[in-house]
C-alpha cells in the first residue's frame, strides 16, 4: 500500500475531477479550437459567397496552402525543439531561383536540378543545426544570418530578373490534378502524415518533444538531443527547398522575390495551431489546422472583396489571440503544477 500523505492525495483527487471525461479533455486541447474555427469560418464564407466553396477556388486554396503549409510543418519541428527558424521564407525564395538556375543556366534536367536544390538546402539546415547545438549559437540570430544571405543570394544569382524557360516537369509537379485535387495539396498531405507519424509513432519523435520540453532532463535520461535538433533543422530547410520547387512550378519562372515574410506565416500557423514557442508542445493536427485557418482568412478576405490592406490586421489579431490563449493555458498548467 502506498502510504502517501493526505494533502497529496487530495491534490490528485482535485486533478482527477479537473481531468474529467474524454470529452472535456478534448475541449481543452488547443487543436480542437482551431479545427472548429476553420469549420465555422469555411461554413460562414461558403454561405456568404457560394463561389468560395466552388471547385476552382478550393483547388486554388489547396495549391496556395501547400506552398506555405510545408514550411509551416518544418518550422514547427524546429519550434518543438525549443528553437526557431527565421530562414524558411528566404530559403524558399532562394530555392525557386536555384532550381530554375540549375535547370536553365546550368543545363541540368529538372530531376537533378531539384535534387541539387534540395541537397543545398539540406546542407544549410545541417549548418544551422551544428551552429545551434555544437556552438550554442542562438537559433534566432543563426537563422537570421541565413535569412539575409539567402535573400541576397537570390537577387545576386538572377540580378533581380526572373529566370525563364524552366522545364515543363516543374509545372507538371504543381499543376497536375489527382482526382480533382491539385498535386501540391496531395504532397502537403503526405508531408503532414509523415510528420505526424514521426512525431507520434517513432521513438525519435518522442525524443524531440522531450528535448524541447526539458533539454537537461532529456540528456540525463540518455537522449542524444543534439542529433534530434540537427535533424529538425535539416528537415525544416529541406521542406523550404521543397516549397520552393512547388512555387517555381506554379509560377513557371524563377522569381527572386517570392517567399518574403513567409517565415512569419509559418510561425503564425504553428502558434495558432497550439505549438508552444518555448518548445516541447504542439501537434501536427493543430499545425495543419493553423495553416488552413490562415489560408481561409487570406482567401476569404479576397472573396469578400475586403481591401487587401486590412488582411494583415486581421491576421495579426488572430495571431495575438492565439498567443494569448497559449499563455493562459501555460499559466493554468503552472498553477496546477
Amino acid at each position: 500500500m502506498s502510504t502517501d500523505t493526505v494533502p497529496a492525495g487530495q491534490r490528485e483527487q482535485a486533478a482527477s475531477t479537473a481531468d474529467g471525461s474524454a470529452l472535456s479533455r478534448l475541449a481543452r486541447s488547443p487543436e480542437v479550437g482551431v479545427v472548429l474555427a476553420c469549420v465555422l469560418l469555411f461554413t460562414g464564407l461558403a454561405i456568404a459567397k457560394p463561389a468560395f466553396a466552388g471547385a476552382v477556388n478550393l483547388q486554388n486554396m489547396g495549391t496556395d496552402l501547400a506552398q506555405y503549409g510545408v514550411i509551416a510543418i518544418g518550422e514547427s519541428l524546429v519550434i518543438l525543439t525549443g528553437g526557431i527558424d527565421l530562414s524558411v521564407g528566404a530559403l524558399l525564395g532562394l530555392s525557386v531561383v536555384l532550381a530554375a538556375w540549375f535547370n536553365v543556366k546550368a543545363g541540368m534536367p529538372a530531376g537533378p536540378a531539384i535534387l541539387c536544390t534540395l541537397a543545398l538546402t539540406g546542407l544549410v539546415g545541417w549548418i544551422h543545426g551544428l551552429a545551434v547545438t555544437k556552438l550554442a549559437m542562438p537559433p534566432f540570430v543563426t537563422t537570421l544570418v541565413t535569412y539575409t544571405v539567402a535573400q541576397g543570394a537570390a537577387l545576386a544569382i538572377t540580378s533581380g530578373i526572373p529566370v525563364v524557360g524552366i522545364s515543363g516537369l516543374f509545372s507538371d509537379l504543381s499543376q497536375t490534378f489527382v482526382a480533382q485535387v491539385p498535386l501540391p495539396a496531395v504532397l502537403f498531405a503526405v508531408t503532414a502524415v509523415a510528420a505526424w507519424f514521426f512525431l507520434e509513432r517513432t521513438y525519435a519523435g518522442r525524443q524531440v518533444y522531450a528535448v524541447g520540453g526539458n533539454k537537461e532532463a532529456a540528456r540525463l535520461a540518455g537522449i542524444r538531443g543534439d542529433r534530434r535538433i540537427i535533424a529538425m533543422y535539416v528537415t525544416s530547410s529541406l521542406l523550404a527547398g521543397f516549397g520552393g520547387v512547388l512555387v517555381a512550378g506554379r509560377m513557371g519562372v524563377g522569381s527572386p522575390t517570392v517567399g518574403v515574410g513567409w517565415e512569419l506565416s509559418a510561425i503564425a500557423a504553428a502558434v495558432i495551431g497550439g505549438v508552444s514557442l518555448v518548445g516541447g508542445q504542439g501537434r501536427i493536427l493543430g499545425i495543419v489546422a493553423g495553416a488552413v485557418l490562415l489560408e481561409l482568412i487570406n482567401d476569404g478576405m479576397i472573396a469578400l472583396a475586403v481591401n487587401a490592406d486590412y488582411t494583415n490586421i486581421v491576421l495579426g489579431v488572430v495571431l495575438g489571440l492565439a498567443i494569448l490563449a497559449d499563455r493562459l493555458r501555460a499559466r493554468r498548467l503552472s498553477r496546477r503544477g
Binding site: S2, G9, Y203, A204, Q207, L220, A221
Partner: protein
C-alpha cells in the same frame, strides 16, 4: 543604526508548514542588539526557512516577526529591507553583466544624486562609483568598480554581495555560510565585519557549517533540529562535541536492511577517476550493494555521479563496468551500458513537467519499447502502466501532466523510468529530496528490493539519516575526494561528520 542594547528581532509563535510537514516551529525567540548569534543544524533542520522568514522571502504559517518592534509583513522582502534586515545568501543574486558599482547600489541612489538637478531620474555615474568605492574600502575588498561582476572570481563576488548588504546599513545582518567560498584572508575580513557590526549595536545572524568558526565568532549559539530550537547555548557551553550531539539528536532508529551480499562480483570499478572538481577517486561497487556517498555541499558528490554517467567530461582515470573498460561520452552511452541516474533536481533535471506521466515514465526506454524505431501507443501505454502499478504511483490517469503529482509520486515515476531500463548500476542523487515521509519509506523499500535483485546502487545524499538507514557502506567525500569508507557495522554520525569536515579518518 541606533546603538545600545534591546531587542532587534522578536519571533512570536512563528511556524511554517508545507502541507502536513512543519519545517519550522519557534514559539519564542529574541535576538538582541550587539550580539552575534550563530545558527547551526543539519540540512533540513530549518535554517534556511528561518532566514527566509526573517528576510521576508518566506511567509510564516503562523505568528509574527517584529523587527525593532515593528511587525514584518510576511512574503515582502522589500519590507524586510526597509525595516533593516539584510541577507547575504549563499547563491549571489548579482546581475552579472552590470558593473561592481551598479550592483552595489542596485535599487537605490547614491546620496550625492539628491543634490543634482533631476537627480531622481538621471543616473549619477560618478556618485555611484564614489559610493561603491567607499563601500568596498569599508568592507576591505580590492576590486575595480567598473568591472562587470561576471568576470570576477567567486570569492570576490561573495565579498561584493556582503558589501551590498552592508551598504543597506542594516540593523540585522544575516550571513548564510558566508565563508564557504572564501579563502582564509577574506573569511577573516567577514568575521571582523560581523564583529564590527555587533560592536556598533547591530545584530548578526551567522549560519555556519564550520563549527569552529561559529564557536569562535558567536556570543550565542542556537541549534535547530527538525524545525525546532533544541539548544540555546553560551560560547562556553557550545563545545564541538555538544553541538554535534544536539544537531544529531536522539540515537537513530535502524530499519531492517537486507544484509550486504557476501562475495558478489564487482560491477563497477573506478581507478584514479578525475574530472573538473573531482578526484582522483577509487571506488568499487558490487552487485546488490547499496553504497552511500556523504559529504558537505560542494564536496563532489554530484560530480562523482555525473562523471560516472558521462554527463560531465572525465579528465583522467579508468572505469570498468562488468569487467570491460567503460568510458561514456554522453549519458546515452551510460544508459546503453546499463547505468541509470536519478538526478538531484527533479524539476530541472528529471521531468518534462508539461508532459504526461506516461511520457515521463518511458523517457529512458523509448528505444527499447519500439520496434525498428516505431513506437506503438499500445506498447507505450502498457509499459507506462506497468511502471505506475509496480511502483504504486498514486494518480488518476497516466495521461495527466506529471506536474500534478506530489513530489513523492513524481520521484517514483523517475525511479520507475530507470528500473524499467533494467540497469546494472543505479546512481541516486538526493533520492528523497522534496518527498513526503510516506513516499520516502516506499522509495527506501524500492531501493532495497532492487539491490536484492542484484542491482548495484550508489546513493549520494545530504540527509545523513537516510544513508545510515539504507546503505551497506558509506563513502565520505571532501574536496572532490573520498576521505573515508565506512562499513555498516561502524556507522556513526559523528565519524561521518568529522570526515566530511575534511579531516582524514582511519577506518
Amino acid at each position: 543604526m541606533t546603538s545600545g542594547s534591546g531587542t532587534a528581532i522578536a519571533l512570536r509563535g512563528v511556524s511554517k508548514s508545507y502541507g502536513p510537514v512543519t519545517v519550522l516551529d519557534l514559539p519564542e525567540l529574541d535576538l538582541t542588539r550587539g550580539q552575534i548569534v550563530g545558527v547551526v543544524g543539519e540540512n533540513g533542520a530549518g535554517k534556511s526557512t528561518l532566514m527566509g522568514v526573517l528576510s521576508g522571502t518566506v511567509t510564516p504559517s503562523t505568528g509574527e516577526v517584529l523587527v525593532d518592534g515593528r511587525p514584518l509583513h510576511g512574503g515582502r522582502p522589500d519590507h524586510a529591507r526597509a525595516l533593516g534586515v539584510a541577507l547575504v545568501a549563499q547563491e549571489f543574486p548579482l546581475v552579472g553583466q552590470l558593473s561592481v558599482a551598479e550592483n552595489l547600489l542596485l535599487g537605490r541612489r547614491p546620496a550625492s544624486a539628491d543634490q543634482r538637478p533631476l537627480g531622481r531620474w538621471l543616473f549619477d555615474r560618478g556618485g555611484t562609483r564614489r559610493a561603491a568605492r567607499e563601500l568596498l574600502d569599508e568592507v576591505g575588498v580590492q576590486a575595480d568598480v567598473d568591472q562587470p561582476v561576471e568576470q570576477l572570481p567567486v570569492p570576490v563576488r561573495q565579498m561584493i554581495e556582503i558589501a551590498k548588504a552592508w551598504g543597506q546599513r542594516p540593523l540585522v545582518l544575516i550571513l548564510d555560510e558566508p565563508t564557504s567560498s572564501l579563502g582564509p584572508v577574506e573569511a577573516r575580513q567577514v568575521l571582523d565585519l560581523a564583529k564590527r557590526h555587533a560592536a556598533a549595536g547591530g545584530c548578526v545572524l551567522f549560519i555556519g557549517h564550520r563549527l569552529d568558526e561559529v564557536r569562535e565568532l558567536a556570543d550565542r549559539v542556537i541549534v535547530l533540529r527538525s524545525g525546532r530550537l533544541v539548544a540555546d547555548l553560551t560560547p562556553a557551553e557550545a563545545t564541538e562535541e555538544r553541538l554535534i550531539r544536539e544537531m544529531v539528536g536522539s540515537e537513530l532508529t535502524r530499519i531492517d536492511v537486507t544484509p550486504p551480499p557476501a562475495d558478489r562480483a564487482t560491477v563497477l570499478s573506478a581507478r584514479g577517476l578525475t574530472a573538473d572538481g573531482l578526484g582522483p577517486v577509487d571506488l568499487d561497487l558490487r552487485a546488490g550493494e547499496i553504497v552511500g556517498v556523504a559529504g558537505l555541499m560542494g564536496s563532489g558528490r554530484s560530480r562523482l555521479l555525473h562523471t560516472l554517467m558521462g554527463a560531465q567530461p572525465r579528465t583522467g582515470g579508468t572505469v570498468t563496468l562488468g569487467g570491460t573498460d567503460f568510458h561514456p561520452r554522453h549519458p546515452a552511452d551510460a544508459v546503453e551500458a546499463g547505468i541509470g541516474l536519478v538526478p538531484e533536481d527533479r524539476k530541472q533535471q528529471s521531468l518534462v513537467l508539461t508532459h504526461s506521466v506516461r511520457w515521463n515514465a518511458t523517457l529512458a526506454t523509448l528505444r527499447g519499447i519500439s520496434r525498428r524505431g516505431v513506437l506503438t501507443p499500445r506498447a507505450d501505454k502498457a509499459h507506462a502502466g506497468r511502471i505506475v502499478k509496480d511502483l504504486k504511483v498514486r494518480l488518476h490517469s497516466p495521461e495527466q501532466p506529471i506536474g500534478n503529482l506530489s513530489g513523492g509520486n513524481q520521484q517514483k515515476v523517475v525511479f520507475g523510468r530507470w528500473l524499467a531500463a533494467r540497469p546494472r548500476v543505479l546512481l541516486l542523487d538526493e533520492p528523497t529530496r522534496g518527498v513526503d515521509v510516506g513516499a520516502k519509506a516506499d522509495i527506501y523499500r524500492l531501493i532495497d528490493d532492487a539491490a536484492k535483485e542484484g542491482l548495484a546502487v550508489l546513493a549520494a545524499s545530504s540527509e545523513l539519516e537516510e544513508l545510515l538507514w539504507i546503505c551497506h557502506r558509506i563513502v565520505v567525500m571532501a574536496h572532490g575526494r573520498i576521505v573515508a569508507d565506512i562499513p555498516r557495522d561502524r556507522f556513526s554520525k559523528e565519524l561521518i561528520m568529522t570526515a566530511a569536515a575534511g579531516t582524514e579518518v582511519s577506518t
